[in-house]
């Protein structure tokens, strides 16, 4: 399988403090890749490099190469807006806009261009179905998205990303604020989405990584320790530190 995103020699510094210390990591198409590691090891920082959300922070220096397919996403001529349409992101805290469910999901589409009402309706419905939240919101599409439960809000946010039809979906601990049932629904959703999307998910939940991911990358102190097929890493990790972390010896 081909790599959808590749990064090489990644260094990132917040001001003078380096947070990522140089490693290579790539992700395969139509797979779920999990990023795990103790708090503060740089998972979110790395993830934000992949859709250039770090650009929004002041005083961040990023070196190394990041590619989407064959294109360097940090090249001078790259349009960040187009990049973010192709590499969507779901955040840790559900963050729907204080508008109706429909408007939330249609937002990503309206940003890209003008759609006929019928097309828009269709895409909103499909996206909400893909995000496994359609049944719960279909009779409330005009209600404020922020009045739904956290789990529902998170799936609405996922639908909002899906509506724009990105190629890669980045998720930063999307279920850490959710109850087990909502989490399970999102996991299920991600497994079905895998056929059409490439998914990169940061998670603190090792079982979650084991359940849904194909590949697991273990980060520690701004370094990548190993990137191994999930089936192997939990049984026979390549590094001793990984094994210690997975067995709860630190973290």
């Amino acid at each position: 399988m081909t790599a959808i995103m590749t990064s090489t020699d990644v260094h990132l510094a917040y001001g003078a403090k380096e947070a990522l210390h140089g490693f290579d990591l790539s992700f395969k198409q139509h797979e779920i890749s999990a990023l795990i590691g103790p708090s503060g090891c740089g998972k979110s920082t790395y993830l934000r490099c992949l859709n250039r959300m770090n650009d929004l922070l002041p005083d961040v220096t990023i070196t190394g190469t990041f590619k989407l397919g064959a294109q360097d996403i940090y090249a001078a001529k790259v349009d960040v807006v187009t990049l973010r349409q192709r590499v969507g992101m779901v955040f840790q805290q559900p963050n729907p806009f204080p508008f109706s469910v429909y408007e939330n999901v249609a937002f990503g589409l309206n940003v890209v261009g003008h759609y006929a009402k019928a097309d828009l309706d269709q895409r909103v419905e499909t996206s909400l179905k893909q995000a496994a939240v359609w049944d719960e919101v279909k009779d409330h599409l005009t209600e404020n998205a922020r009045t739904f439960s956290g789990g529902q809000q998170q799936r609405i946010c996922l639908a909002r990303v899906l509506a724009a039809q990105p190629e890669v979906i980045l998720l930063d601990e999307p279920t850490s604020a959710l109850d087990p049932i909502s989490s399970a629904k999102i996991e299920q959703t991600l497994l079905t989405l895998k056929a059409n999307y490439s998914i990169i998910i940061v998670t603190h939940n090792l079982q979650q990584a084991a359940r849904i991911s194909d590949q697991t990358a273990f980060f520690l102190n701004g370094q990548l320790v190993e990137n191994t097929p999930t089936q192997q890493i939990f049984i026979k990790p390549q590094q001793k530190t990984t094994s210690d972390y997975l067995n709860g010896k630190f973290g």
């Binding site: 929004l56 973010r84 349409q85 955040f91 963050n95 806009f97 508008f99 890209v112």
Partner: protein, 307 residues
């Protein structure tokens, strides 16, 4: 056993302080409440005397166009039609708000979103300074600079709705700007990053998300601006011309409710019709300010439900 009982039944120092604090704030609150009731009562009784004692019909007061409280008119009653003042007041208020809102929102966006550093350091204090300038200063500048300019540009006296609107525009601009900036600043950063992560441009983010999320607050800001414009007396009085006449154009001398009040209040004796009708004008102002207040509350409630 003894000690436990004692502790529970005896008021502690803390709960005594609590009681003391509560009584003070209750006292202050009731004082304010009494003041409000007293003002309402005062304005109401005086303002209504025009209709109850002087038997002026409400209709002729609200819809009449001639203002001549000291002379008996054709129908055997003094003519006290307040319509010209009501129209002028509403006109300058609406026009000033209409003119100021786009500017204010633009400046607020600049200060909060586009250049928060420079904007915050430079523009913010300037805006706050503008809010604090006494209205007589605005009126004075209007009178000595704007009126001659208008006269020069458009002929006539230079006094009128246009000049009044321009002075009020400058006066409500800082009010609306600073309230609108507050409401823009209250939009969670989450919404910004969510919009950008979806591939929105910065302009789309501002326009489709931030401004929209801040809309109830911005509307409130505009209404506060309008309330200020509607109630402003001194500055308007200096540039409006002070003739109780229907405005015939942009620059014909006319009067607002407030300017007529300040002009007339020294020349009348308490208890007479000319004095009572001024109180009736005050009553209209009071009703309008109640209206503005309830509008703000209504929007506030709608806005909260949205979040």
């Amino acid at each position: 056993m003894d000690r436990m009982k004692q502790n529970l039944h005896q008021a502690s120092k803390a709960s005594y302080q609590d009681y003391f604090g509560k009584s003070i704030s209750l006292f202050c609150a009731s004082l304010v409440g009494m003041l409000v009731v007293a003002i309402l009562y005062f304005v109401m009784t005086r303002g209504l005397a025009t209709f109850t004692q002087n038997h002026i019909s409400l209709r002729s007061f609200l819809l009449g166009q001639t203002w001549n409280p000291t002379q008996i008119g054709a129908n055997g009653q003094p003519e006290v039609g307040a319509l010209p003042m009501i129209v002028t007041s509403l006109a300058v208020t609406l026009l000033a708000a209409l003119l100021a809102t786009p500017f204010a929102v633009g400046v607020a966006l600049f200060v909060t979103e586009i250049a928060p550093r420079r904007g915050g350091q430079l523009l913010q204090p300037m805006i706050e300074l503008l809010v604090g300038i006494p209205s007589v200063v605005y009126g004075f500048i209007g009178l000595s600079a704007l009126v001659p300019l208008m006269r020069h540009l458009f002929g006539g006296t230079g006094f009128g709705i246009l000049t009044g609107t321009l002075v009020l525009f400058v006066m409500v601009l800082p009010t609306i700007t600073s309230l609108a900036s507050d409401s823009l600043r209250a939009v969670p950063l989450d919404y910004h990053s969510a919009a950008l992560a979806l591939g929105a441009t910065r302009w789309q983010m501002l326009y489709k998300v931030v401004l929209r999320a801040a809309l109830p607050g911005i509307l409130t800001a505009v209404i506060f601006g309008m309330a200020r414009a509607f109630g402003e007396a001194l500055a308007v009085q200096m540039v409006i011309g002070n003739a109780v006449l229907m405005p015939k154009g942009w620059l014909t001398p006319t009067s607002t409710l407030t300017s007529q009040l300040t002009t007339g209040i020294g020349n009348t004796t308490l208890g007479t019709l000319p004095n009572n009708v001024l109180w009736s004008l005050a009553l209209i102002l009071l009703v309008m300010s109640l209206f503005f207040n309830s509008l703000v509350r209504f929007i506030g409630r709608r806005g909260r439900m949205q979040k």
